[in-house]
Amino acid sequence: MFGFLKVLARNVLKGPSTDPFPFAEAHTPARFRGQVRLDPALCVGCAICHHVCAGGAINIAEREDGSGYDFTVWHNTCALCGLCRHYCPTGAITLSNDWHNAHLQSQKYDWCERQFVPFMQCEGCGAHIRPLPPQLAARAYGPGGFDFASFMRLCPSCRQLAAARADVHIPEASAMPAAPAGHADEPAIREGDANAVTVKGDETPATGVQQ
């Protein structure tokens, strides 16, 4: 019946369990979802983040002079869901762990992450493009030891033509294993083999189904 006395006594002996903020810094986990940040070097302008944003916080506006686009995230409508980070193909959008967001009403429309992402000219046709980030280029053209450095500053159409003109490596017919007898349900071309064949513009490996 008097168990609460034991609890109270234990509480007094243990002392306060209060987080010291605002009199001292609060502990913030490293992966805490805080304000959204953009790395302009990695952004390719695909606008997937704008499409999936839950709060409609992301705005991508091209400048009239064609020099690039302004990327804006309005923190006051960002729900910190992280969908932009999840779907960004290059990892340009990240969520920092900065949660110090309280601000005055006068700063309401300035409480943004603003970055300018510049366009560059395609070396083939002169169109305005964003350069292909190194990670994407490595995933698309890397397997097989292909030298893709010259593709990084081409627009997608020029890149298609350039890849078609470059040597496309196809392995010898004897290097491909025949379907063993009695293993009718195994695929003839296994996943690892298909990667050796570089097909223009298409980086998904062919997984054949045994007929």
Partner: protein
């Protein structure tokens, strides 16, 4: 003329008025701090109730359009002035003898409900339905806890009266003087049920969980206090703080008056310390660990536990033990 001035001094400066106010607000701050520590929190600074009062003076007083202005504004003052005067009746052992020769225990019994009546008048004058609910709940609580209080007062009066041959001793000063020669009533086994009943009466009268039903924040949006703001609300808080000092001082005078050598200041500090000890035992400990009763549960609790205890002491005192 001199008597009047002395009486005024006792009512306005010590032990009524200023002294009781300071002590009451400090005790309230201590209560909040200790409650926080009991719940593993840090809690506000001990002078927080003073800061609350300063803040309340900077706010405006809004009066509902359908309220009765006179009673709405007069209600807080009823409780405040009543309790400020009551504090002059409490003897501080070793320093102040109280008002000798009067039946001041009965006077106190009549004046103690004043803050509760002030709450009720304020609640009904504010013309809000929550105020009306608070009114009825406060009335039920008063009925519940006044019975054990009366029984305890009579038990003490009869016990001291039998010993001194007067029948019933209703003057607090004489009760304190009797205990100075015979030993504290709190240590007397006959008075122990009365002491327990008084300790159970304290949370009810102070409006402290589990008995804070009339002012329930989460149920009836602070009941009678709903429409009060600014200095008017400040007077209600002052009245509540004064009432706490009066009932704690009454408990100390009836059960644990004891002096320490050294004159005025050590005795005043000793009195404050005893009040604080009684408060921590009966108010803070209970407040930190409980929720809130329903009004019918609170009523039956008072009928089932403190009343029989107090009646037991009353019966034993009447039989001459």
């Amino acid at each position: 003329m001199q008597d009047i001035l002395v009486a005024l001094f006792h009512m306005i400066v010590f032990p009524g008025g200023a002294f009781a106010l300071t002590l009451g607000l400090l005790l309230k701050g201590l209560d909040r701090k200790v409650e926080a520590r009991l719940q593993r929190r840090v809690g506000p600074p001990i002078v927080q109730p003073f800061i609350d009062l300063v803040k309340l003076t900077t706010k405006e007083t809004l009066i509902p359009a359908t309220a009765n202005r006179t009673f709405f504004l007069a209600a807080p003052l009823i409780g405040f002035t009543g309790m400020a005067v009551c504090a002059a009746f409490i003897p501080v052992p070793g320093v102040y003898d109280g008002m000798p020769g009067m039946g001041d225990m009965l006077v106190l019994f009549y004046l103690l409900p004043l803050p509760a009546i002030a709450l009720m008048v304020g609640g009904s004058a504010s013309s809000s339905p929550f105020g009306a609910i608070g009114f009825s709940r406060e009335m039920t609580m008063m009925l519940a806890y006044e019975i054990p209080l009366l029984a305890v007062l009579l038990a003490v009066a009869l016990k001291v009266g039998h010993a001194t041959g007067v029948g019933a001793e209703l003057s607090l000063a004489s009760v304190v003087a009797y205990q100075a020669s015979t030993g504290m009533l709190g240590l007397d086994p006959v008075m122990l049920p009365a002491l327990l009943a008084y300790l159970l009466f304290l949370p009810g009268t102070a409006g402290v969980p589990p008995f804070d039903i009339p002012e329930a924040e989460t149920e009836i949006i602070e009941g009678p206090l709903l429409e009060y703001s600014g200095p008017a609300l400040g007077f209600f808080h002052l009245g509540a703080a004064l009432k706490t000092v009066v009932v704690l001082g009454l408990g100390v005078a009836m059960f644990f008056p004891g002096t320490v050598p050294g004159g005025i200041v050590p005795n005043v500090l000793w009195f404050a310390l005893k009040c604080a000890g009684l408060m921590l035992l009966s108010l803070t400990l209970v407040k930190a660990a409980t929720g809130r009763f329903r009004i019918d549960q609170a009523f039956t609790f008072y009928l089932k536990l403190p009343t029989p205890l107090a009646m037991a002491s009353l019966a034993l005192a009447w039989l001459g033990f």
